[in-house]
Protein backbone atom coordinates (compact mmCIF):
# COMPACT_ATOMS: atom_id res chain seq x y z
CA UNK A 1 0.00 0.00 0.00
CA UNK A 2 1.11 3.59 -0.62
CA UNK A 3 1.94 5.42 2.53
CA UNK A 4 1.57 9.09 3.29
CA UNK A 5 5.06 10.58 3.63
CA UNK A 6 3.76 13.32 5.90
CA UNK A 7 3.66 10.75 8.70
CA UNK A 8 7.48 11.03 8.83
CA UNK A 9 7.11 14.61 10.01
CA UNK A 10 5.10 13.44 12.97
CA UNK A 11 7.48 10.57 13.66
CA UNK A 12 10.65 12.71 13.69
CA UNK A 13 10.24 14.18 17.20
CA UNK A 14 10.21 10.64 18.67
CA UNK A 15 13.25 9.68 16.59
CA UNK A 16 15.07 12.72 17.95
CA UNK A 17 14.10 11.93 21.53
CA UNK A 18 15.29 8.31 21.26
CA UNK A 19 18.57 9.40 19.66
CA UNK A 20 19.24 12.02 22.34
CA UNK A 21 21.03 9.76 24.90
CA UNK A 22 23.26 8.30 22.18
CA UNK A 23 24.14 11.80 20.97
CA UNK A 24 24.96 12.83 24.53
CA UNK A 25 27.29 9.86 24.97
CA UNK A 26 29.05 10.37 21.65
CA UNK A 27 29.35 14.10 22.25
CA UNK A 28 31.10 13.54 25.58
CA UNK A 29 33.55 11.09 24.09
CA UNK A 30 37.22 12.02 23.87
CA UNK A 31 40.38 9.84 23.79
CA UNK A 32 41.90 11.81 26.64
CA UNK A 33 38.91 11.25 28.94
CA UNK A 34 38.72 7.60 27.96
CA UNK A 35 42.31 7.00 29.03
CA UNK A 36 41.58 8.84 32.25
CA UNK A 37 38.65 6.51 32.92
CA UNK A 38 40.80 3.53 32.00
CA UNK A 39 43.12 4.25 34.92
CA UNK A 40 40.30 4.84 37.39
CA UNK A 41 40.30 2.13 40.10
CA UNK A 42 36.53 1.53 40.08
CA UNK A 43 35.78 0.57 36.52
CA UNK A 44 37.48 -2.85 36.17
CA UNK A 45 35.90 -4.53 39.24
CA UNK A 46 32.53 -2.94 38.40
CA UNK A 47 32.60 -4.10 34.79
CA UNK A 48 33.64 -7.62 35.78
CA UNK A 49 30.90 -7.73 38.44
CA UNK A 50 28.30 -6.47 35.97
CA UNK A 51 29.23 -9.08 33.35
CA UNK A 52 29.34 -11.88 35.92
CA UNK A 53 26.09 -11.05 37.72
CA UNK A 54 24.10 -10.23 34.60
CA UNK A 55 25.07 -13.50 32.91
CA UNK A 56 24.23 -15.53 36.04
CA UNK A 57 20.93 -13.65 36.29
CA UNK A 58 20.19 -14.35 32.63
CA UNK A 59 20.85 -18.06 33.23
CA UNK A 60 18.36 -18.03 36.10
CA UNK A 61 15.84 -16.05 34.07
CA UNK A 62 16.01 -18.50 31.17
CA UNK A 63 16.08 -21.78 33.11
CA UNK A 64 13.34 -20.75 35.55
CA UNK A 65 11.39 -18.54 33.15
CA UNK A 66 11.07 -20.93 30.22
CA UNK A 67 8.93 -23.57 32.00
CA UNK A 68 6.73 -20.80 33.39
CA UNK A 69 6.39 -19.23 29.94
CA UNK A 70 5.53 -22.63 28.41
CA UNK A 71 2.83 -23.12 31.02
CA UNK A 72 1.43 -19.61 30.42
CA UNK A 73 1.51 -20.20 26.66
CA UNK A 74 -0.35 -23.50 26.77
CA UNK A 75 -2.80 -23.52 29.64
CA UNK A 76 -5.67 -21.03 29.74
CA UNK A 77 -6.10 -21.64 33.48
CA UNK A 78 -2.59 -20.21 34.03
CA UNK A 79 -3.88 -16.75 33.02
CA UNK A 80 -4.53 -16.11 36.72
CA UNK A 81 -0.73 -16.00 37.17
CA UNK A 82 -0.02 -13.73 34.21
CA UNK A 83 -0.34 -10.63 36.40
CA UNK A 84 2.64 -11.79 38.48
CA UNK A 85 4.82 -11.35 35.40
CA UNK A 86 3.76 -7.74 35.11
CA UNK A 87 4.37 -6.85 38.76
CA UNK A 88 8.15 -6.18 38.53
CA UNK A 89 7.53 -4.23 35.30
CA UNK A 90 5.09 -1.78 36.86
CA UNK A 91 6.71 -1.49 40.30
CA UNK A 92 9.49 1.09 40.62
CA UNK A 93 12.78 -0.88 40.94
CA UNK A 94 13.51 0.87 44.25
CA UNK A 95 10.24 -0.53 45.62
CA UNK A 96 11.23 -4.03 44.49
CA UNK A 97 14.57 -3.59 46.25
CA UNK A 98 12.95 -2.33 49.43
CA UNK A 99 10.46 -5.22 49.39
CA UNK A 100 13.31 -7.73 48.98
CA UNK A 101 15.16 -6.09 51.84
CA UNK A 102 12.10 -6.61 54.03
CA UNK A 103 11.67 -10.27 52.91
CA UNK A 104 15.31 -11.11 53.65
CA UNK A 105 15.69 -8.84 56.67
CA UNK A 106 16.19 -10.45 60.08
CA UNK A 107 12.47 -10.09 60.85
CA UNK A 108 11.38 -11.03 57.29
CA UNK A 109 9.63 -14.22 56.12
CA UNK A 110 12.97 -15.43 54.74
CA UNK A 111 14.94 -13.91 57.58
CA UNK A 112 17.00 -17.09 57.95
CA UNK A 113 18.65 -16.07 54.68
CA UNK A 114 19.51 -12.59 55.97
CA UNK A 115 23.15 -13.17 55.02
CA UNK A 116 22.02 -12.68 51.43
CA UNK A 117 21.44 -8.96 51.89
CA UNK A 118 24.29 -6.67 50.71
CA UNK A 119 26.02 -9.53 48.90
CA UNK A 120 26.73 -10.39 45.28
CA UNK A 121 23.94 -12.97 45.51
CA UNK A 122 21.52 -10.14 46.30
CA UNK A 123 22.64 -8.38 43.11
CA UNK A 124 21.80 -11.51 41.13
CA UNK A 125 18.45 -11.84 42.93
CA UNK A 126 17.47 -8.24 42.16
CA UNK A 127 18.56 -8.49 38.54
CA UNK A 128 16.75 -11.80 38.05
CA UNK A 129 13.44 -10.54 39.43
CA UNK A 130 13.54 -7.24 37.57
CA UNK A 131 14.71 -8.76 34.24
CA UNK A 132 12.60 -11.95 34.19
CA UNK A 133 9.35 -10.31 32.99
CA UNK A 134 11.06 -9.06 29.83
CA UNK A 135 12.13 -12.58 28.90
CA UNK A 136 8.91 -14.28 30.01
CA UNK A 137 6.65 -11.92 28.05
CA UNK A 138 8.69 -12.42 24.88
CA UNK A 139 8.90 -16.17 25.45
CA UNK A 140 5.14 -16.56 25.95
CA UNK A 141 4.48 -14.75 22.67
CA UNK A 142 7.11 -16.80 20.83
CA UNK A 143 5.95 -20.13 22.25
CA UNK A 144 2.29 -19.34 21.50
CA UNK A 145 3.21 -18.63 17.90
CA UNK A 146 4.60 -22.16 17.39
CA UNK A 147 2.17 -24.09 15.18
CA UNK A 148 0.26 -26.61 17.29
CA UNK A 149 0.21 -29.02 14.36
CA UNK A 150 4.00 -29.05 14.10
CA UNK A 151 4.15 -30.15 17.74
CA UNK A 152 1.53 -32.84 17.08
CA UNK A 153 3.54 -34.12 14.13
CA UNK A 154 6.60 -34.43 16.38
CA UNK A 155 4.50 -36.34 18.92
CA UNK A 156 3.10 -38.63 16.22
CA UNK A 157 6.69 -39.35 15.15
CA UNK A 158 7.51 -40.71 18.59
CA UNK A 159 8.57 -37.71 20.68
CA UNK A 160 7.30 -37.37 24.22
CA UNK A 161 5.80 -34.07 25.30
CA UNK A 162 9.20 -32.94 26.66
CA UNK A 163 11.04 -34.34 23.64
CA UNK A 164 8.83 -32.40 21.24
CA UNK A 165 9.37 -29.26 23.32
CA UNK A 166 13.14 -29.56 23.13
CA UNK A 167 13.48 -30.75 19.54
CA UNK A 168 10.76 -28.69 17.87
CA UNK A 169 9.14 -26.01 20.03
CA UNK A 170 12.36 -24.38 21.30
CA UNK A 171 14.06 -24.19 17.87
CA UNK A 172 10.88 -22.79 16.28
CA UNK A 173 10.54 -20.18 19.01
CA UNK A 174 14.27 -19.34 19.08
CA UNK A 175 14.17 -15.90 17.39
CA UNK A 176 11.56 -14.70 19.90
CA UNK A 177 13.37 -16.31 22.83
CA UNK A 178 16.66 -14.71 21.80
CA UNK A 179 15.02 -11.29 21.54
CA UNK A 180 13.59 -11.79 25.03
CA UNK A 181 17.02 -12.80 26.36
CA UNK A 182 18.51 -9.65 24.86
CA UNK A 183 15.94 -7.43 26.55
CA UNK A 184 16.24 -9.26 29.87
CA UNK A 185 20.03 -9.11 29.81
CA UNK A 186 20.03 -5.41 28.98
CA UNK A 187 17.60 -4.80 31.85
CA UNK A 188 19.82 -6.81 34.22
CA UNK A 189 22.95 -4.89 33.21
CA UNK A 190 21.15 -1.59 33.70
CA UNK A 191 19.64 -2.56 37.05
CA UNK A 192 20.19 0.21 39.60
CA UNK A 193 17.38 0.88 42.07
CA UNK A 194 16.59 -2.61 43.33
CA UNK A 195 20.31 -3.46 43.53
CA UNK A 196 21.10 -0.35 45.55
CA UNK A 197 18.38 -1.14 48.13
CA UNK A 198 18.94 -4.86 48.64
CA UNK A 199 22.63 -5.23 47.79
CA UNK A 200 24.08 -1.82 48.55
CA UNK A 201 26.94 -0.15 46.71
CA UNK A 202 30.04 -2.04 47.88
CA UNK A 203 33.01 -2.07 45.47
CA UNK A 204 33.76 -5.61 44.31
CA UNK A 205 30.66 -7.02 46.00
CA UNK A 206 27.61 -5.17 44.76
CA UNK A 207 28.93 -2.16 42.89
CA UNK A 208 27.92 -2.94 39.32
CA UNK A 209 28.60 -0.56 36.43
CA UNK A 210 25.48 1.60 36.87
CA UNK A 211 26.29 2.03 40.58
CA UNK A 212 29.94 2.74 39.79
CA UNK A 213 28.89 5.39 37.26
CA UNK A 214 26.65 6.95 39.89
CA UNK A 215 29.47 6.90 42.46
CA UNK A 216 32.10 8.32 40.10
CA UNK A 217 29.72 10.98 38.84
CA UNK A 218 29.74 12.65 42.23
CA UNK A 219 33.48 13.36 41.91
CA UNK A 220 34.26 13.30 38.17
CA UNK A 221 31.56 13.68 35.52
CA UNK A 222 33.86 13.00 32.56
CA UNK A 223 35.03 9.65 33.92
CA UNK A 224 31.39 8.74 34.57
CA UNK A 225 30.62 9.61 30.98
CA UNK A 226 33.44 7.39 29.69
CA UNK A 227 32.23 4.49 31.81
CA UNK A 228 28.75 5.09 30.40
CA UNK A 229 30.05 4.87 26.85
CA UNK A 230 31.75 1.59 27.71
CA UNK A 231 28.54 0.18 29.20
CA UNK A 232 26.41 1.40 26.28
CA UNK A 233 28.85 -0.10 23.78
CA UNK A 234 28.73 -3.43 25.58
CA UNK A 235 24.92 -3.44 25.61
CA UNK A 236 24.68 -2.53 21.92
CA UNK A 237 27.19 -5.24 21.04
CA UNK A 238 25.12 -7.85 22.90
CA UNK A 239 21.94 -6.60 21.24
CA UNK A 240 23.50 -6.88 17.77
CA UNK A 241 24.83 -10.38 18.51
CA UNK A 242 21.38 -11.55 19.55
CA UNK A 243 19.70 -9.87 16.57
CA UNK A 244 22.17 -11.60 14.27
CA UNK A 245 21.67 -14.95 15.95
CA UNK A 246 17.88 -14.60 15.86
CA UNK A 247 18.00 -13.56 12.22
CA UNK A 248 20.05 -16.65 11.40
CA UNK A 249 17.51 -18.79 13.27
CA UNK A 250 14.69 -17.26 11.26
CA UNK A 251 16.42 -17.88 7.95
CA UNK A 252 17.20 -21.53 8.56
Amino acid sequence: MRFDRRIILFALPMVALLALPLLGLLGGLSPHRMSEAWSHPLWAPALWLSIKTSLISLAFVVTLGTPFAWWLAQDKRSAAWQWLVDVPMVLPPAVVGLALLVVFGRQGILGSLSGLVFSTAAVVLAQTIVAAPFYISAAVAALRAVDEDVVLVARSLGKSSLGAFVSVVLPCAWPGLAAGMGMAWARAVGEFGATLFVAGNLPGVSQTMPLAIYTVMESDLSVALSLSVLLAGLALLALLTLRWSAGRGRRS
Binding site: D147, L152, A154, C172
Partner: protein, 233 residues
Protein backbone atom coordinates in the same frame (compact mmCIF):
# COMPACT_ATOMS: atom_id res chain seq x y z
CA UNK B 1 -6.44 -53.11 7.92
CA UNK B 2 -9.54 -51.97 9.75
CA UNK B 3 -10.21 -49.41 12.42
CA UNK B 4 -13.11 -47.78 14.19
CA UNK B 5 -13.55 -44.80 16.47
CA UNK B 6 -15.99 -42.84 18.53
CA UNK B 7 -14.86 -39.37 19.47
CA UNK B 8 -16.71 -37.08 21.85
CA UNK B 9 -14.93 -33.78 22.37
CA UNK B 10 -16.79 -31.20 24.40
CA UNK B 11 -15.99 -27.51 24.61
CA UNK B 12 -18.30 -24.82 25.98
CA UNK B 13 -18.78 -23.40 22.51
CA UNK B 14 -18.51 -26.58 20.44
CA UNK B 15 -19.29 -30.28 20.71
CA UNK B 16 -17.81 -32.86 18.37
CA UNK B 17 -19.52 -36.25 18.52
CA UNK B 18 -18.63 -38.64 15.71
CA UNK B 19 -18.48 -42.39 15.07
CA UNK B 20 -16.24 -43.61 12.25
CA UNK B 21 -15.62 -47.01 10.71
CA UNK B 22 -13.19 -47.99 7.98
CA UNK B 23 -15.61 -49.28 5.36
CA UNK B 24 -12.99 -48.53 2.69
CA UNK B 25 -9.26 -48.22 3.17
CA UNK B 26 -9.65 -44.47 2.67
CA UNK B 27 -12.11 -42.52 4.79
CA UNK B 28 -12.83 -38.96 3.69
CA UNK B 29 -14.10 -36.19 5.93
CA UNK B 30 -15.98 -33.38 4.25
CA UNK B 31 -17.86 -30.44 5.70
CA UNK B 32 -17.98 -26.66 5.87
CA UNK B 33 -15.30 -24.62 7.65
CA UNK B 34 -15.56 -24.96 11.41
CA UNK B 35 -17.46 -28.27 11.19
CA UNK B 36 -14.78 -29.99 13.27
CA UNK B 37 -12.81 -31.97 10.67
CA UNK B 38 -9.32 -30.90 11.77
CA UNK B 39 -10.36 -31.18 15.43
CA UNK B 40 -11.42 -34.75 14.71
CA UNK B 41 -8.02 -35.60 13.19
CA UNK B 42 -6.23 -34.10 16.21
CA UNK B 43 -8.53 -36.02 18.56
CA UNK B 44 -7.70 -39.28 16.74
CA UNK B 45 -4.01 -38.47 17.24
CA UNK B 46 -4.57 -38.06 20.97
CA UNK B 47 -4.18 -34.30 21.21
CA UNK B 48 -7.05 -33.85 23.66
CA UNK B 49 -7.98 -35.59 26.88
CA UNK B 50 -11.38 -37.20 26.17
CA UNK B 51 -13.72 -38.73 28.72
CA UNK B 52 -15.93 -40.63 26.25
CA UNK B 53 -15.07 -42.68 23.17
CA UNK B 54 -12.71 -45.27 21.75
CA UNK B 55 -10.23 -45.84 18.93
CA UNK B 56 -9.29 -49.34 17.79
CA UNK B 57 -6.84 -49.99 14.96
CA UNK B 58 -6.40 -53.56 13.71
CA UNK B 59 -8.02 -54.98 16.81
CA UNK B 60 -5.77 -53.20 19.28
CA UNK B 61 -7.10 -50.24 21.24
CA UNK B 62 -5.29 -46.89 21.31
CA UNK B 63 -7.96 -45.24 23.35
CA UNK B 64 -10.88 -46.62 25.33
CA UNK B 65 -12.46 -44.28 27.84
CA UNK B 66 -14.47 -47.10 29.48
CA UNK B 67 -11.29 -49.02 30.29
CA UNK B 68 -9.27 -45.94 31.18
CA UNK B 69 -6.90 -46.58 28.28
CA UNK B 70 -5.49 -43.50 26.55
CA UNK B 71 -2.21 -43.93 24.66
CA UNK B 72 -0.10 -40.80 24.16
CA UNK B 73 0.23 -39.56 20.55
CA UNK B 74 3.74 -41.04 20.32
CA UNK B 75 2.41 -44.51 21.16
CA UNK B 76 -0.50 -44.64 18.71
CA UNK B 77 1.38 -45.36 15.46
CA UNK B 78 -0.75 -42.78 13.69
CA UNK B 79 0.99 -40.54 11.16
CA UNK B 80 -0.18 -36.99 10.54
CA UNK B 81 0.31 -34.62 7.64
CA UNK B 82 -1.38 -31.37 8.65
CA UNK B 83 -2.57 -28.63 6.36
CA UNK B 84 0.52 -26.78 5.19
CA UNK B 85 2.48 -30.02 5.81
CA UNK B 86 3.95 -29.10 9.21
CA UNK B 87 7.59 -29.52 8.18
CA UNK B 88 10.23 -28.64 10.79
CA UNK B 89 11.62 -25.42 9.33
CA UNK B 90 14.83 -25.58 11.37
CA UNK B 91 15.79 -29.03 10.06
CA UNK B 92 17.10 -30.08 6.65
CA UNK B 93 14.93 -32.33 4.50
CA UNK B 94 16.90 -35.42 5.47
CA UNK B 95 16.56 -34.66 9.19
CA UNK B 96 12.83 -34.04 8.75
CA UNK B 97 12.43 -37.49 7.21
CA UNK B 98 14.73 -39.16 9.76
CA UNK B 99 12.99 -37.39 12.68
CA UNK B 100 10.87 -40.37 13.67
CA UNK B 101 13.74 -42.85 13.30
CA UNK B 102 16.08 -41.49 15.94
CA UNK B 103 19.54 -39.96 15.76
CA UNK B 104 21.63 -42.85 14.45
CA UNK B 105 23.46 -42.71 11.14
CA UNK B 106 21.37 -45.73 10.17
CA UNK B 107 18.28 -43.53 10.47
CA UNK B 108 19.78 -40.98 8.10
CA UNK B 109 20.71 -43.72 5.62
CA UNK B 110 17.16 -45.00 5.74
CA UNK B 111 15.78 -41.49 5.24
CA UNK B 112 18.16 -40.93 2.31
CA UNK B 113 17.00 -44.21 0.75
CA UNK B 114 13.40 -43.13 1.06
CA UNK B 115 14.15 -39.79 -0.59
CA UNK B 116 16.06 -41.57 -3.38
CA UNK B 117 13.12 -43.92 -3.99
CA UNK B 118 10.87 -40.89 -4.34
CA UNK B 119 13.32 -39.35 -6.80
CA UNK B 120 14.03 -36.37 -4.55
CA UNK B 121 17.32 -37.55 -3.03
CA UNK B 122 19.05 -34.40 -4.28
CA UNK B 123 16.87 -32.29 -1.92
CA UNK B 124 18.24 -33.93 1.23
CA UNK B 125 20.44 -31.01 2.31
CA UNK B 126 17.86 -28.28 1.68
CA UNK B 127 15.63 -26.59 4.22
CA UNK B 128 11.83 -26.79 3.84
CA UNK B 129 11.44 -23.16 2.76
CA UNK B 130 13.72 -23.89 -0.19
CA UNK B 131 11.25 -26.44 -1.60
CA UNK B 132 8.23 -26.08 -3.87
CA UNK B 133 4.79 -26.95 -2.51
CA UNK B 134 4.81 -30.32 -4.24
CA UNK B 135 8.26 -31.17 -2.87
CA UNK B 136 7.17 -30.15 0.62
CA UNK B 137 4.23 -32.49 0.38
CA UNK B 138 6.47 -35.35 -0.77
CA UNK B 139 8.85 -34.75 2.12
CA UNK B 140 5.98 -34.56 4.63
CA UNK B 141 4.57 -37.84 3.31
CA UNK B 142 7.97 -39.51 3.33
CA UNK B 143 8.47 -38.38 6.94
CA UNK B 144 5.03 -39.70 7.92
CA UNK B 145 5.43 -43.07 6.19
CA UNK B 146 9.01 -43.87 7.15
CA UNK B 147 7.84 -44.96 10.62
CA UNK B 148 5.39 -47.45 9.10
CA UNK B 149 2.23 -46.19 10.80
CA UNK B 150 -1.00 -48.16 10.96
CA UNK B 151 -3.13 -45.16 10.11
CA UNK B 152 -2.36 -42.01 8.10
CA UNK B 153 -4.19 -38.72 8.63
CA UNK B 154 -4.05 -36.15 5.83
CA UNK B 155 -5.53 -32.67 6.27
CA UNK B 156 -6.24 -30.98 2.93
CA UNK B 157 -3.25 -32.64 1.25
CA UNK B 158 -3.75 -30.81 -2.04
CA UNK B 159 -4.90 -27.36 -1.01
CA UNK B 160 -1.45 -25.73 -0.91
CA UNK B 161 -0.40 -27.01 -4.35
CA UNK B 162 -0.44 -25.38 -7.77
CA UNK B 163 -2.70 -26.87 -10.43
CA UNK B 164 -0.08 -28.95 -12.26
CA UNK B 165 1.38 -30.48 -9.09
CA UNK B 166 -2.09 -31.13 -7.78
CA UNK B 167 -3.05 -33.04 -10.93
CA UNK B 168 0.07 -35.23 -10.74
CA UNK B 169 -0.26 -36.00 -7.03
CA UNK B 170 -3.95 -36.79 -7.32
CA UNK B 171 -2.86 -39.75 -9.42
CA UNK B 172 0.27 -40.86 -7.55
CA UNK B 173 -0.85 -40.54 -3.92
CA UNK B 174 -3.86 -42.91 -4.11
CA UNK B 175 -1.69 -45.46 -5.95
CA UNK B 176 1.03 -45.20 -3.29
CA UNK B 177 -1.42 -45.69 -0.44
CA UNK B 178 -3.03 -48.65 -2.19
CA UNK B 179 0.37 -50.25 -2.81
CA UNK B 180 1.22 -49.95 0.90
CA UNK B 181 -2.21 -51.18 2.00
CA UNK B 182 -2.30 -48.30 4.44
CA UNK B 183 -5.58 -47.05 5.94
CA UNK B 184 -6.01 -43.33 5.82
CA UNK B 185 -8.31 -40.48 6.74
CA UNK B 186 -8.36 -37.52 4.36
CA UNK B 187 -9.93 -34.14 4.97
CA UNK B 188 -10.82 -32.31 1.78
CA UNK B 189 -13.13 -29.63 0.49
CA UNK B 190 -12.74 -30.60 -3.17
CA UNK B 191 -14.52 -33.58 -4.65
CA UNK B 192 -11.93 -33.90 -7.43
CA UNK B 193 -9.22 -34.48 -4.80
CA UNK B 194 -11.15 -37.38 -3.33
CA UNK B 195 -12.36 -39.25 -6.42
CA UNK B 196 -9.07 -41.08 -7.15
CA UNK B 197 -9.08 -42.51 -3.60
CA UNK B 198 -12.55 -44.10 -3.94
CA UNK B 199 -13.21 -43.16 -0.33
CA UNK B 200 -15.99 -43.80 2.12
CA UNK B 201 -17.20 -40.31 2.94
CA UNK B 202 -18.41 -38.83 6.20
CA UNK B 203 -20.08 -35.45 5.87
CA UNK B 204 -19.67 -33.52 9.11
CA UNK B 205 -21.56 -30.38 10.05
CA UNK B 206 -21.51 -28.66 13.44
CA UNK B 207 -19.54 -31.49 15.01
CA UNK B 208 -21.88 -34.31 13.93
CA UNK B 209 -22.08 -36.75 11.00
CA UNK B 210 -24.95 -35.64 8.77
CA UNK B 211 -24.47 -38.21 5.98
CA UNK B 212 -22.15 -41.11 5.12
CA UNK B 213 -21.57 -43.24 2.04
CA UNK B 214 -19.52 -43.49 -1.13
CA UNK B 215 -19.25 -40.46 -3.39
CA UNK B 216 -21.77 -42.11 -5.74
CA UNK B 217 -24.23 -42.66 -2.90
CA UNK B 218 -23.86 -39.07 -1.77
CA UNK B 219 -24.40 -37.89 -5.31
CA UNK B 220 -27.59 -39.95 -5.67
CA UNK B 221 -29.25 -38.64 -2.53
CA UNK B 222 -27.51 -35.65 -0.92
CA UNK B 223 -29.19 -34.94 2.37
CA UNK B 224 -27.97 -31.43 3.16
CA UNK B 225 -27.28 -28.27 1.20
CA UNK B 226 -23.53 -28.65 1.84
CA UNK B 227 -23.39 -32.23 0.53
CA UNK B 228 -25.44 -31.24 -2.51
CA UNK B 229 -22.97 -28.48 -3.30
CA UNK B 230 -19.98 -30.73 -2.60
CA UNK B 231 -21.01 -33.41 -5.09
CA UNK B 232 -21.68 -30.68 -7.61
CA UNK B 233 -25.45 -30.76 -7.94
Amino acid sequence: MSWSARILYERPEFILDVELESEHSVVALIGPNGAGKTTLLRALLGAYPLSVGHLTIDGSACFDADQGLDLAPEERRIAYVPQGFGLFEHLRVIDNVAFGLGRSSLARDQAQNRLDQLGIGQLAARYPHQLSGGQQQQVALARALVCEPSLLLLDEPFSALDVTTKRALRQSLPADLRAKGLSSVIVSHDRRDLEPFDPYVYAIEDGAVVQRGTLAQLEQAPETAFVREFVGL
